[in-house]
Each structure stands twice: as C-alpha cells, then as structure tokens.
Symmetry: C2
Subunit: 456 residues, 2 copies
C-alpha cells in the first residue's frame, strides 16, 4: 500500500523515530465530540524535514493535516482520512533581534514561550489567545488567533512580518522578513494566515515585537444593562484611553460565574460587566488613563473596582476565565461560537440570538471582546436528550450566523471554520466568492492533499 | 472590431458619456518617461457600473487597467495594450460611522478627502503617502501605500476592514466589514491589497478610524553621522516614545536641500537629520514624550530644534518635502527607488549602495522612513548622455535590489512593482514562489485581462 511505502521512505531518509508509534494523542483537538484516527503521525524535526516529509507523502498521494498545539475548537487539526504532520519538534526560538525588535521562531513554539522569550529581553509579544500556554504560534497564524489584547494591539496577523511555509509538494517557500513594509508581489503570507492549513504548512515565523509596557491597571466595572456597557465601550474607544483589554461579560455569564466560581464574583447582580486593562510605560501614563476612564465610569457604570495590585488583578482575570469552568459545572455538554459584529450592534445581536436560542429550547451564555465586536457564545445542553441536542446544534449555529451576517458581521472572529462551520460558510460568502476561494485552494494544492475536509 | 463592439455596448447600456473622448490625461502616471496610449478610456459612475463595464470588456476579450489618481511611480496605471477604467467618478464618501469608528468610501476618493472627512468627525485616518492630495484610496490599497505615519500607525493595509472588488469577469464581490477580526475563509482582501490591479479592481473600502490626536510636537535633530542617527532611531523605538513620524534625511539629502531650498535648511552640515513628530491626546502626553526624547537626543544628537508652533512645524516638514524639488533643481532627470531593509542594516546598506552607484558613475540622494527601514533613494542623471543613462538605470536598480535582498530586505516598500520592477522580482522570490503567484493570478484572471504586463 502506498502509505506503507511512504512511511518506509520517511523512515529510511529521516529516521524511524519520525513516525510516531502511538497515535492516541493525535485523534482530536479541543473540539467537542469530534475525533478521527490519523492514517499515520509524522514528526519532522526541522523545517527542511517537514518539507521532505510532505514531498514524500504527496508523491504517494497521501493527504496530510498539520498539527500545532491541538487546542482548536472547530476540528481544524483533526485528520479526516489524512496523515498528521505534528510540528511539536519544530520548537526552537531561532533568534531574538533586539536591534530590529523581532523574534523568529519555529511554528511549534508555544505562544507563551514566544511571549516569555520576548519579555526576557524587555520586549512584548501582545497576542494572547486564551489557550496561550498550550497553543502554538504556527497554529495561531493558521487560524488568525486573537485574544483580549486585540482591542489595542491587534491579532496574530498584525505581528507576522515574515513566514516560511511548505506547499503540499514539499517546496519550502519564504515570504516577508524583518521589515514592516513590502509592496513586492502578492501577499502570500497574509493569504496563508487564517487558511487553517489548507493552503500550506507554516514552519517558521518572524514576529514584530513592541516595548514591554511597564505598568498596568485592571478595573472591573458593573452596569445596569448590556446596552449601558456597550455604550461605554464606544465612549472609551472614541476617547484617548486605548485600553489594552476591554472584555464584556453579559449578565448571563455573570450570574453563572456567581453561582459556580469559588469565592463568587463582584457585582453578581449586574446586567453586564466590563473588565478593563490599562497599560503604559510608567505609572503616570496609566494613572492618567485611569483618571479619564473614571470620568466615563462615574457617568455610566453602577460601580467599579480597581485591582490593588498584581494579586488582585490576577483575581479579576481569574473570574473572567472562570466563566468557562462555570459553564462546564452547569452543563458538562455545551458548544461555543465566536461571531463578530460591528461593535454598536452587540446589544441587539445578543438579544436576537438569545431569543432565537431560547425559542429552540436551549440556553446560552454571552461574553467576549467588546472592543472588537467579537463575542463568545456558549450554548448549554443541560438535560436535553442527545438526539435532540445534535439536531438543534445546527439550527442554533444557523441562527447565530444568520443574525451575525444580517448585522454586517462574520461567522467566526477567532476560532476559524475548521470542519464544524464548513457548511455555514455560504451564509457569509456568495457562491462566486466561494468559487474564487476554491480556485485559490487549487493554485496551492491541486490534488487536495492539505487538510482535506476543512474550510471549503 | 471587438473593441468597437464593446464600446458600443457600454454606450448603449450605460450612456455614451461613460466613454472618454479625450485620452490625453490617461497615457501616463508619475513614472518618469513611461507612457502608452489606452485602447479606450471608460469612466463608470458607480460600483455596479464598474462591474458591468468589466463584464462587457471581458466578454470581448479586451484587457483593462484600472486607474486611480495616476500618482504611481512604477508604471502601474499605464495601460499596455489595454483599455483604462478610470475610477474618477467613484468619488463618494458612502458613510462615516462614528459609533463603530469606520468610514466607507468609493475607491476614487482622494486620500486627503478621507483624512478630512474623518477629521470633521473628530476621527483620524493615519496613512499619509506623500501624494495624499492627489492619490486615491483605491490606488493606495492597490499598492499597499505607506507614508511617514507608518512607524506608529501602520500602512493602508492596517486600516482596511472591508473591501468591494470586481473580478475580471465583472463579478462584484465583498470581503470583510465593520469588524476587526475575521477567521472565516481565505483572506481575499489582504491578497488583493498590493496586487496593483492585476487580480481585481477595488471599488470601495471600509476603513478603520482612530481618535484624532489633539496635540503634536515636531523636532528636527542633527547627527554627526548616519550611523549615529540610525542608532538613535533604535533607541527611540525601544523606548516608550512611539513617535508618529521618524524620518531620516541622510547627509546627501541635507546638503542638496541646503543648496537649493529657499531659505536654506537648519543644521546644513549634519551627517544626517531625523525629523520626528510626537503626537498624543493632550499637551501633557506629548510633553512627556518630548522629555523622554530629549534625554536620548542630549546623548546622541549634535543639536535639535523644536518647532515653536504650527507655522514652525510646517516649515520643518516643508524642508523635508523640499528634498524632491531640490533633486529636480539639481538634475531634472532622476529616478527613485524605495527598498526596505531591517532597520539596523540602514547604514551599511546606504554605504554599500552609495559605493555601488558611484562605481557606476552616478550619484544618489538618500532619505526615508527610518523606523520602518524603508528608504527613498533618488539617482540623479546630471549630464550623463541619454543612452548611457538608460543602460545604467537597470544596473543601478540591480545593485540596489541585490544589496537590499542580501541584507534581508525587499525591493519595494511602498511604490510597488508595476512595470519597471517586474523583471527584478526574481531578485526577491524563488522561481517556485513566482510560479505560485502566477497560479494565484490565474485563479483570479484566467485570460490575463487585468492590468497586463504588470507585477508578474
């Protein structure tokens, strides 16, 4: 069989240990109830080995799915009749260039390791997806990951200056470098960002770094209503405060966390919370921002609380992160969506989606990155019978996507299309637009060998 | 003839005035010594008319070159056996959305008009190419234009949230919208940015706006050497100053401006100047930045001068802009290049290029956007005989591009490839990378009807 021959060739050329003998850890990512067995698991040790493995696999017509940290939630890293190429050994920080303020890393480096390596030189890598201790920088690039910092600092894509990637035939290509501006030729890097491993496998990245902000202040503000909180978000962004994070926690999530989180939450009866981080080079700068923020909160919020120090800050953010564990405690089965809408549409969007989901007999919890209009909607199964739940999931997804698109938004702001949302892409794009995307896929991957069954 | 039939159909469907009777203004852009007569000039009045014109032209197999402000300097808007589609009538500001801080404009709106429309609502559109009074926002997107503000605020691409574009067969497509994050499907917008009208014609854009900075301070600093100035650039960027502009003027440009500019220049004997703009929400903020900057300049600069007010500021920037007129006074014939290199490589790069150009018997003047590593190199003809000049131009270009690529840079940071640099793209990209770009071109434009003879 051709797979056997391909694996034998990889073994012979690169070493038998490039083929994993245990596939148990490679059958799923963090997507609920979605697993598949890989045809094989290949573990290259370098960029050039990745290219050689891909060249061999493609010469035998073997489909392949690249895998980073396996933290995706839409099934992007789950192999559908494909071999897994795990980038776990591409885990080297290649260079930190303090003069040019860049870091160059292999794709399998954990996002937290990028952050820490930068910080050890007084530099700052801002993107902060929730899974940053476990996810990899290559995976972040592949889905275009965001995080709370995006409201001030942008997402992964805004930090990628250069990229090495391998096309399915095993050609190692380069795009960009240690420069911010590039008007030469087509933007291959930006196209590959967010393509979820269907166009090429990213093997290394050169990332822009910023000076590390020296000081920060965290504030939790409570509002009588969701509308009041979102109005305040608009005022904060139109002012000169430029918060480093601006997280919205709807009353639905506040109530749930109040019920389940150890030690409860502050302002448990609020219609909504905003969790705000201000940062800056020094105390004066952040205190000035704080003074401006307080003027807005005094007029709009029902109360606010300033973290007294690092420990207090950690507690505030822990209660934000406790939303997920509270959801799990409330209903072990649930699923998450992450549409984005124009910021001003958030309240009407949440109201409409909440009503739609209730009508379908389910319940949802809302929170998210208010400054970006990017919401996390968690839909809880509770005691709903399994078959009914499976049926309703798709109806609920359709309801969310329809409402998002109707209001000028998108079906996913951070998590990607993967497998789960593939059939829903038509809610956002016209048939001609999808056909154009298919022709682009064809230009990269004529034999459909890269991450088959995903995105398109 | 098929052209006659196509024009008749456009006349019949949209009106005879959609065909320009005078083609004189459409034969060239700002590229030196590069003109060509268009097969015809079509002036659609709207996005849908643009799509209809393109559908008709492509049905007759007529190639087409879109034209914005005609301010390009690499021949991108010069029609090579093609009809011109002028976007001059797509000049409407469609919407300013203050709640979501976005502006939506047709592609033919002047960049200065975008800036002014935003400012009239207290909002800020930062990208500021030198030609901003004459260039259009669609043209800026098509080449990925930058400007001095890029060091703090990024380039055109960083402000494009949504885009309408027309593929060569006349299909009007949409990408993005009033949201910052989008992980759904392939990044069609970012791919079209910088593709110089070879993949699609951009018809409208939704742009992100920022709060308008209330205060600014302009500073001119002089340095004994180029190296000293570039070291200072690194220190400024590693600090927390975040200048809104950080322009490097090499001694070659200082001397030339001192000779020609009315009223001379400050620090005429300097090895290099830095022209620095600080901005911020209020006086306190910019004064704090200024105090930090002064600490660096005191240690590094041989002198500095702070503009005493708006008039003084205008004078400093006028002398920056006087470089170009001084070049013209010195040598009416010249050409300009705009490579980008890693910032720390600027001094060695300038030294090497200067030596290379002198060896070829020519002289160059250097200035540029130091924070981005993006340089403007102007090569002066003086009294060199025409035939020698034509021959040497290509050698000089090769020298500049070779040095840029060798140091990890790119051949063009702002101006694009157009026609002039097409044959030099191979200095930057491997044959496989260019082949991939050609397949992407094919995916958009299988009959090669869009801006033929450009980029690839």
């Amino acid at each position: 069989m051709s797979l056997t021959a391909a694996l034998e060739q990889i073994s012979a050329e690169l070493g038998a240990d490039r083929i994993a003998t245990e596939i148990a850890g490679y059958q799923s990512d963090k997507t609920v109830a979605f697993t598949a067995s890989p045809m094989a698991v290949i573990i290259p040790h370098s960029e050039t080995e990745t290219a050689r493995c891909m060249r061999i696999l493609s010469s035998f017509g073997i489909p392949m799915t690249a895998r980073g940290g396996g933290t995706g939630v839409t099934g992007g890293a789950v192999p559908l009749d494909a071999a897994v190429i795990s980038l776990e050994r591409l885990n080297r920080v290649i260079e930190i260039d303090t003069a040019n303020m860049t870091i160059t890393v292999e794709a399998g480096v954990r996002t937290a390791a990028v952050r820490d390596a930068a910080a050890s030189h007084g530099l700052f890598y801002p993107p902060d997806p929730a899974s940053l201790e476990d996810c990899t920088i290559g995976g972040n690039a592949a889905v275009g990951a965001g995080g709370p910092h995006a409201v001030k600092y942008g997402t992964t894509k805004d930090y990628i200056l250069g990229m090495n990637f391998v096309t399915p035939d095993g050609t190692l290509m380069r795009w960009g470098g240690k420069f911010v501006k590039n008007s030469a030729g087509y933007a291959l890097g930006p196209l590959i960002i967010g393509s979820e491993g269907t166009l090429a496998v990213i093997t290394s990245l050169t990332l822009r770094l910023l000076p590390l902000p020296g000081e920060s202040i965290d504030i939790l503000a409570s509002f009588a209503s969701l509308e009041g909180a979102v109005d305040c978000v608009g005022e904060i962004l139109r002012g000169a405060i430029a918060p480093a994070a601006l997280e919205l926690i709807d009353g639905s999530a506040v109530a749930l966390t109040a019920r389940h989180a150890a030690g409860g939450v502050c302002f448990p009866d609020a219609g909504a919370h905003l969790l705000i981080r201000l940062d800056g080079a020094d105390t004066d700068t952040v205190e000035r921002s704080f003074a401006m923020l307080v003027r807005l909160l005094d007029a709009r919020a029902t109360g606010y609380l300033r973290a007294a120090g690092a420990e207090d800050s950690a507690r505030l953010w822990k209660s934000r992160r406790a939303i997920r564990s509270s959801i799990e405690a409330e209903s072990p089965e649930f699923f998450a969506e992450d549409p984005a809408v124009p910021r001003s549409e958030i309240p009407a969007f949440i109201r409409a989606v909440d009503a739609g989901i209730r009508k379908l007999g389910a319940q949802a919890v809302f929170f998210g990155h208010a400054g970006d209009g990017n919401l996390h909607i968690n839909i809880l199964k509770y005691a709903m019978p399994d078959d009914e739940w499976q049926l309703k999931k798709e109806s609920i997804r359709s309801c969310i996507y329809r409402e998002a698109v109707r209001r000028g938004g998108t079906i996913t702001g951070e998590h990607g299309v993967g497998y789960l949302r593939k059939s829903h892409l038509a809610a956002l794009y016209a048939p001609e637009e999808l056909a154009l995307m298919r022709r682009i896929k064809q230009a990269f991957d004529p034999d459909n060998l890269l991450n088959p069954g995903k995105v398109l």
